[in-house]
């Protein structure tokens, strides 16, 4: 066997069409390392470098398909197969030697990649062991096993397809394209043209089954440091499958009928097993353009669902206590027992995100009937029981929980919450921050391989305490300072001084506003601070910062003023246009850009009022315009419409920025205006904010006239 292996290696090295491209590839790989390293020197972003490193993965795999096919096919081109078959296991030995030879060939670039990632780890000087382990796993899975997959596929194609080069080329091209975003545009066809989510899901199912790269070429979504590159168990299972399945195909060529049948049976079983496992892969982080992905799943789901507003919904009961037993393996499996205060109601409503499949609802006396409608659970009378047990499992595309990472913030209904509350705000395009007004007692026990961080006190994944919500985080996530939790690999880590500074700024602001600090904000600098994963604001701009009774979650914490402003933004209701609110906050926090011409010049109030009227009239013109009507508009009207839309967009910004600038910066009554609008933003008033703006502006004009 050793002789055969050496001979195979010699054949490879002496074949110019194999050895020359191979050595050229090694040289290119080294040059590419230089490019990646230079990228790090420029931007100091290790995950960006890692993304660059994995981008050409699919080309390397395609190259190894080529090498292995061309090497193995030499046996068929030179009619050696019949000859080898006459010797005991001669063909299998020959294939074994070829596979060993190719393993040596792919091992060299694999080792190069491995060495480079380890070098980069030590170069960046972070010393965070989980990250090193993550990089090593990345090398093994995507620079090791993936290359072996390429090699095995090429060899298997030589064994089964033999000289059918067209078929081999076709498979190689399809395989390559399926591992890039080449498929993105065509895969949207079923959904965009036929509204068929199912077909799109099926296409992506097939694509995912054939995905052997961690980050598709052309995918511009960034990697979240808490999660890293996808390395869920299913990825490993698929990698092993794509290595073993071609091997069984090769073996069917090498053995006689009896063994061949057994091998075919084994490979069929293997396929079925892996498809089965793949179908129950559970929670994975999908960052691409499909309907079920992190960025799009929830917005599309809620856009298509019936629109119901549950602001001010009264549940009629309070959850006094939660006892949560969670198992986080491939997804979240939960048994949650809630103790409620009011056992006499005829009907109980709970909110639980629709991605969690409710298996049963019960009391101490047994299971009780329930109705599940989207995010809501309706239970009829509890017959005097005060404890309800919910058993469910499932996943959320954004708030993942699996063996790789966990990101379950308290404001998200991953456990049943009292009453009906919206989960998604269509108008604001973001998640509704669902914080319970009351605190409950929590006992949380979690079975997971990860070390989990929680706002409640505890250790070893068991927590207890009183709060108005439970946040759970795990993955490449650590307590980086006392009571501060973040992704250590991030460059913008929070610091205690920023939080304290934010506290002081907010105290000053509330003093300026002559209003009491909300209870949640008092002494918030003493609360636990959880920095949310960096890409959490990708599909939602409503939950950047959330303050709860005992902890804070925030995506960004670059400095004290920014954090203070984010906290204030979470306090005020989103009742006004984003520019107006932004202006309010910037003037409240004295963050205005003094060099901005708008800030420097005086606002013409009469013009402002005219522009408000103009905007209202343009808004009224397009209030019933939809996609269908837009397409049916004539060419001449289309130009007018486009011009009007452009004007509406511009004037929207102008009106709001001017209004904010005048009321909160230029006006002699600016402090009062700030207070008035603070009260407006924190009240339940349904008055249109522009109406309030107009009223205040007219009052000032009247005052000036007088």
């Amino acid at each position: 066997m050793r002789k055969l292996y050496k001979d195979s290696l010699l054949v490879f090295l002496r074949s110019k069409n194999l050895s020359i491209p191979y050595f050229a590839l090694l040289a290119l790989t080294l040059a590419y390392f230089g490019f990646c390293f230079n990228n790090y020197l420029q931007y100091s972003e290790i995950f960006s470098v890692a993304m660059w490193l994995v981008r050409p993965c699919i080309f390397l795999i395609a190259f190894f398909i080529y090498c292995s096919y061309e090497l193995a096919i030499k046996m068929y081109d030179n009619n050696m197969v019949e000859y080898l078959k006459i010797y005991g296991q001669g063909l299998w030995k020959a294939y074994g030697a070829i596979i060993l030879c190719l393993s040596t060939i792919v091992a060299i670039p694999s080792i190069m990649f491995f060495a480079f990632v380890v070098f980069m780890y030590y170069y960046i000087d972070v010393y965070y062991l989980p990250f090193l382990i993550h990089l090593m796993k990345l090398s093994v899975l995507y620079f090791g096993l993936s290359f072996i997959i390429g090699m095995m596929l090429g060899t298997a194609m030589a064994a089964k397809l033999k000289n059918k080069r067209l078929a081999v080329y076709g498979f190689a091209v399809i395989f390559m394209l399926l591992n890039t975003t080449f498929t993105e545009a065509p895969f949207r066809i079923p959904y965009l043209l036929f509204n068929s989510y199912r077909t799109e899901r099926m296409l992506y199912y097939i694509k995912d089954f054939l995905t052997v790269v961690p980050h598709e070429l052309g995918n511009n979504f960034t990697i979240a440091p808490i999660y890293g590159f996808p390395m869920e168990p299913i990825r490993w299972i698929l990698a092993v499958f794509w290595g073993l399945f071609p091997l069984t195909l090769i073996l069917t060529e090498c053995f006689n009928r009896k063994t061949k049948k057994a091998l075919i049976a084994a490979s069929c079983l293997m396929v079925l097993l892996v498809i089965g496992l793949f179908s129950v892969r559970g929670s994975t982080l999908i960052m691409d353009m499909r309907v079920d992905s992190y960025p799009f799943a929830d917005p599309i789901y809620y856009m298509d669902s019936p629109r119901e507003a549950y602001d001010g919904y009264e549940a009629g009961f309070i959850v006094e206590e939660y006892e949560m037993n969670l198992t986080i393996s491939n997804e979240l499996h939960a048994e949650v027992e809630v103790t409620i205060d009011n056992r006499d109601l005829d009907n109980y409503e709970f909110t639980l995100y629709h991605g969690y499949i409710l298996m049963s609802v019960g009391t101490e006396d047994g299971e009780i009937p329930f109705t599940r409608e989207g995010d809501y659970i309706s239970i009829e009378s509890l017959n005097g029981a005060d404890r309800v047990i919910f058993k469910y499992y499932g996943k959320s595309p954004k708030f993942y929980a699996n063996r790789q990472a966990i990101a379950l913030p308290a404001y998200f209904a991953y456990y049943p919450k009292a009453g009906r509350t919206n989960i998604w705000d269509l108008d604001r395009y973001g998640y509704v921050v669902n914080i319970s007004p009351n605190e409950s007692d929590y006992t949380v026990n979690i079975r997971s391989d990860l070390e989990i961080f929680c706002n409640l006190a505890g250790s070893n994944n068991s927590f207890r305490g009183k709060s108005n919500g439970v946040s759970l985080f795990a993955g490449m996530y650590e307590e980086i300072a006392e009571n501060i939790y973040a992704e250590p690999m991030r460059s913008d880590l929070p610091k205690r001084e920023y939080i304290r500074e934010a506290q002081e700024i907010l105290i000053d602001i509330f003093n300026r506003l002559e209003r009491p600090e909300p209870e949640s904000v008092i002494l918030f600098s003493d609360k636990r601070f959880f920095q949310m994963p960096q890409n959490f604001s990708l599909n939602s701009n409503t939950d950047d910062t959330v303050v709860m009774s005992d902890h804070i979650t925030s995506v960004f914490c670059n400095n004290g003023p920014e954090l203070a402003e984010n906290i204030m933004e979470s306090i005020i209701k989103p009742k006004a246009n984003i520019w107006f609110r932004g202006g309010y906050l910037s003037y409240l926090f004295n963050r205005q850009d003094e060099s901005d011409p708008l800030v420097q010049s005086a606002v013409d109030l009469n013009l402002l009022l005219e522009e408000i009227d103009e905007w209202r009239s343009l808004a009224g013109k397009f209030s019933d315009m939809n996609g269908e009507k837009r397409k049916n508009v004539s060419e001449k009207d289309r130009a007018t419409r486009i011009a009007d839309e452009r004007r509406r967009y511009d004037i929207n910004q102008i009106v709001n920025e001017k209004a904010a600038k005048y009321l909160f910066y230029e006006s002699p009554r600016k402090e009062e205006n700030l207070r008035i609008f603070f009260d407006y933003f924190t009240s339940e008033s349904e008055e249109d904010y522009l109406g309030l703006v107009e009223r205040l502006v007219r009052e000032e004009l009247e005052h000036d006239r007088n």
Binding site: E70, Y169, G170, L177, T180, R188, L217, G218
Partner: protein, 210 residues
């Protein structure tokens, strides 16, 4: 031409991949993109067209070259060759044949967009480049597998990652005026250079390398 017909017929159903891409996938994708957006999305459709149409331009040529470079008894194909039978001329004919298909697709596009001719010219020059590149690399490596991988790798890299790279033959933009064809001139010149280099190798191919 009869021989070319037989060579295309020899590809069996693999022959139909480019027509399926051109006549089914591209129009559907473009139509879906328009339907999914609020405006005509011409730049996005232009990107889709360049990605798919140009990438598959080299499909037929490479699969034909496979017979000349990889099949048993390929030297027989070189014995009776006259100058008019050169592979280079076959590449040009195949390019023209492909352009005819593209013309049909663009006749459909004229019903969707106002002005498509700059995009059309850009695409046919890119197709010429991809065929020239495939031809050149096939003769250089005496192999058609590597050129096939390079063809799709190039398209993937420069349409999905390095969109604005100076090395890219593709154009991202509105194709609303003649300046969007500035790159096309360079692309055509490079295609000619590749064809010339390939032809020089083809002439020597018969003599020494069977």
């Amino acid at each position: 031409m009869w021989r070319l017909y037989l060579e295309l017929k020899n590809q069996r159903f693999y022959y139909f991949i480019p027509p399926v891409i051109l006549f089914i996938l591209v129009p559907l994708t473009v139509f879906a993109t328009i339907k999914g957006g609020t405006s005509s999305h011409f730049p996005e459709c232009g990107t889709i067209c360049q990605l798919f149409i140009s990438s598959f331009a080299a499909w037929w040529p490479l699969f034909i070259l496979k017979e000349y470079l990889n099949s048993p008894g390929k030297e027989l194909l070189f014995i009776h060759k006259l100058s008019r039978d050169s592979l280079f001329l076959k590449m040009i004919i195949l390019w023209a044949f492909y352009v005819l298909h593209v013309v049909i697709v663009f006749i459909y596009f004229t019903s969707l967009f106002d002005f498509v001719w700059f995009l059309f010219i850009a695409i046919i020059t890119q197709s010429m480049f991809m065929i020239a590149l495939g031809y050149f690399l096939s003769l250089l490596f005496q192999n058609t597998f590597i050129p096939l991988i390079v063809n799709f790798a190039y398209s993937s890299l420069f349409m999905l990652v390095f969109l604005y790279s100076p090395l890219s033959i593709f154009e991202i933009g509105t194709f609303s005026n003649a300046s969007s064809l500035n790159k096309s001139t360079v692309v055509v010149i490079i295609a000619f250079i590749l064809f010339y280099g390939g032809y020089q190798m083809e002439k020597r191919l018969y003599k020494n390398s069977i």
